[in-house]
Amino acid sequence: MSKLEISLYRYNPEKDKFPYMKTYNVDKPSRDIMILDLLHLLKESDESISYRRSCREGVCGSDGMSINGKNGLACITPISSVLKGNKIELRPLPGLPVIRDLVVDMSEFYAQYEKIKPFLQNDTTAPEQERLQSPADRDKLDGLYECILCACCSTSCPSFWWNPDKFVGPAALLQAYRFLADTRDLSTDERLEDLSDPFSVYRCHGIMNCVSVCPKSLNPNKAIGEIKSMLLKNKKNIIASERA
């Protein structure tokens, strides 16, 4: 039976001065299993291995990690899709502080999410029933609302690595656009104003790692482009109104 060589990032703050890579050799499973299943197998033999997981079907966003150098969700990544020879290297999402093993501290990521005010703002009196929205307007939210906050995109983004406190990052910008695009949201001007500094949006240089790693096949880069257009248009309007 052929073997798999799994190189796993290990770090326990109470024991290890530095993180290190530990190699585990396991029999190659007879069928193609997911990376998460592989981690379960490893954990049965070494219970000290720590990672997050919940839904195990790619909708909760818990188990983002670097798999052979590329960010992805362990639960929906089949071994066959990443195997290099017989080797698999698993590391925590890059750029965030490591708490232990594959578990990263996501506070900075969540802080950026909260910063963009990720909730519908509409101060008009709500009708007794729902607010109406045409299917065409609702379609504008497709490709945006599905984000699962796994952080695969933001932690693959060199601009986010560089300025995690000032650059909002692809995940939160995708959500910023989700509310800008929602016809029910009335705070477009304030939202754009909040994003108009040199860092929040403009540190995106179109590197597109976000698009290449998103496990939900979303396109933060496109959303960022839309935001930039809106910012530009808004600026033009402001200049025009100042001239008038």
Partner: protein
């Protein structure tokens, strides 16, 4: 590793504590955030990782969008019938009549519902739905955001909790309830998973919003985190559980993987076929076919397999056919299913059918509560509320689902009763209600389980014992049940309890110790499994999801009642079903056919 006691841990004080950051917990916290009460949501995962996120098809509610003449009373009728007549009619009435308000609130919060051309919320047909009290044909009553309604709902609730400034203790694990000398609940012992710090979270009101426990079975649609932590805590504290024999097996879990394939697939026109390519539900439910109650469809599938008409090499599953709906409908209405099916079944539903199998999905039972979310126990055959303790959502048994939940009613349950619980706690605390403090020894007592695991120097391995538990439940308490097998199961569970009482947590570190968390979770699973097993063995009839080979008929004379499991004596008693709704005439038990 030092031993924890009341003097060496922190006490954090709150007015209200919500254990669980899923749909019901976050709906309750939203209500409380606006009230000015000091509240915390204690969640073992970041809230948007909660299992509500996996709900697909929608939230069933008579909002009169697909049909302007729809009526919540029809929804109530369907729910009572779906529950096989042991749902409490006052609670079902409350849910169905308050539902529209709760759904419109979600829309106002920003939930991105799919829409009809007129701009109203899209509604699709689901199983067990009718117009005009079963006489007017199939209804379309399930409000949907494509097939990602749970995700949209959970994120919307989290977003609005951010807006209202709710206080979250994320990645904190609640270990056990703390009680005072009067047997009132005064909070929980919990620890930060990240740092290992242990604290007594003291509160006037503690809400169990911990969801289900589908992980007692080997094959389940449930997330890995669904380990019944709230119910486990309540049972260990001696509080009862209601209707624990009632577990829903969803007809369409992906064969092999267990992932859910929404009933909305059949609502949109998909249907099940056996190895002969026959649409077999026409035989079992000639009127509504594939849209019969979930229990009915699941049993029909198992019968097809048992009679040799299963699909695949081992003839051990059936197919869900969707390709005739066309790529446009599938991409627009069921995009998530297409994705899941390609990933986990290696099948593209646009071209091929999905292999499916009935899979454990939902716990109809739970901690018994009234419509205000107040948990109760039984004294002299009367309900006696437990001061300080509440439950909502799947963790609770109100009971709106009785012996079988209708599709789309779980999301409605969790928003309606999460909201009601939040409202009631405000009234209660503002009117001066509360509980007396616990003593140091009360706190120490609730630290015992954690201390024992931390001190363990030998014993059983969590993963191995968990597998034994899940296999036992799967084998003896599945879709079809039989007394003699269940007796064996109950005996096996006794042996397994011996092991869960003596688990070895090899990892002694403080930071993100998942070895410890999983051991604590397994002990909760065991409590839930045992309650399930004893209740299932005792209920000598077939009703809703509880189908017995040896008692194939419904027995209204003896069993038109709830079961109440008492963990102190490990015995079952009966509790009357509520047949007294306030605004409509009660629906009397009738033959349940689809």
């Amino acid at each position: 590793m030092h031993k924890y006691n009341s003097s060496n841990i922190k006490t954090l004080e709150f007015d209200a504590l919500i254990i669980g950051g899923g749909g019901s917990g976050m709906r309750a916290s939203l209500e409380l955030a606006k009230s000015g009460l000091k509240t915390a949501v204690v969640s073992k995962v970041f809230p948007t990782r909660s299992h509500t996120v996996s709900a697909q098809g929608g939230i069933t509610c008579a909002i009169q969008s697909a049909d302007p003449n729809d009526d919540w009373r029809w929804h109530m009728y369907d729910t009572v019938k779906g529950a096989d007549f042991i749902g409490d009619q006052d609670a079902i009435e409350y849910m169905c009549s308050e539902g529209p308000k709760a759904v419109f609130e979600l829309e106002h919060m920003g939930l991105p519902f799919s829409r009809f051309d007129n701009g109203r919320i899209y509604q699709r047909p689901f199983g067990g739905q009718s117009k005009d009290f079963g006489k007017g044909g199939q209804a379309a009553r399930t409000c949907a955001a494509a097939d990602r309604t749970g995700h949209a709902l959970l994120h919307t609730l989290y977003q609005n909790n951010i807006k209202e400034g709710s206080n979250f203790l994320n990645e904190w694990f609640a270990v056990d309830l703390v009680k005072n000398s009067k047997n009132e609940v005064t909070g929980v012992i919990a620890f930060s998973i990240e740092s290992g710090e242990v604290a007594y979270l003291k509160a006037q009101a503690t809400v169990l919003a911990t969801g289900g426990a589908g992980r007692i079975y080997a094959s389940t649609t449930n997330a890995l985190i669904n380990t019944g932590d709230g119910l486990g805590m309540a049972l260990r504290s001696g509080f009862p559980a209601q209707d624990m024999e009632m577990w829903q097996f969803h007809p369409t879990g992906i064969y092999g993987a267990g992932s859910l394939v929404t009933e909305g697939c059949r609502g949109e026109g998909g249907y099940l076929v056996n190895a002969d390519g026959e649409r077999f539900m026409e035989r079992y439910a000639p009127n509504v076919k594939d849209l019969a109650g979930r229990d009915v469809v699941a049993r029909s599938m198992v019968l097809e397999i048992l009679e040799g008409r299963g699909c695949g090499e081992n003839k051990d599953h059936v197919f869900l056919k969707l390709d005739h709906l066309g790529a446009d409908v599938l991409n627009a209405k069921l995009p998530g299913i297409c994705e899941l099916s390609r990933t986990f079944a290696h099948v593209d539903p646009i071209y091929e059918p999905i292999p499916v199998i009935p899979t454990c999905h939902y716990m109809m039972g739970g901690t018994p509560t009234n419509v205000n979310g107040q948990a109760f126990q039984r004294l002299d055959n009367k309900d006696l509320t437990i001061p300080g303790l509440y439950a909502a959502g799947e963790a609770a048994c109100v009971s709106v689902h009785g012996a079988n939940r209708l599709g789309g009613n779980s999301l409605l349950d969790l928003v309606v009763f999460g909201r009601a619980t939040g409202k009631h706690i405000q009234e209660e605390i503002k009117s001066g209600g509360g509980v007396e403090s616990s003593s140091a020894s009360d706190v120490d007592e609730s630290l015992e389980r954690l201390n024992k695991l931390n001190e363990s120097s030998s014993g059983y391995q969590t993963a191995e014992v968990k597998r034994q538990l899940q296999t036992c439940m799967q084998n003896y308490f599945g879709v079809f049940r039989r007394g003699e097998f269940m007796k064996k199961g109950v005996e096996e569970l006794k042996e397994i309890r011996e092991k869960t009482d003596n688990l070895f947590v090899a990892d002694k570190s403080a930071a993100f110790n998942t070895n410890r968390v999983e051991a604590l979770e397994l002990q909760n699973l065991l409590e839930v499994a045992e309650a399930t097993a004893i209740a299932a063995l005792e209920r000598n009839e077939s009703r809703g999801a509880h189908a017995r080979d040896d008692y194939p008929d419904r027995d209204d004379e003896n069993w038109l009642c709830h079961s109440m499991y008492d963990p102190k004596t490990k015995t079952l008693s009966k509790r009357e079903v509520n047949f007294s709704p306030n605004q409509v005439d009660p629906f009397p038990p009738a033959v349940r056919s689809y």
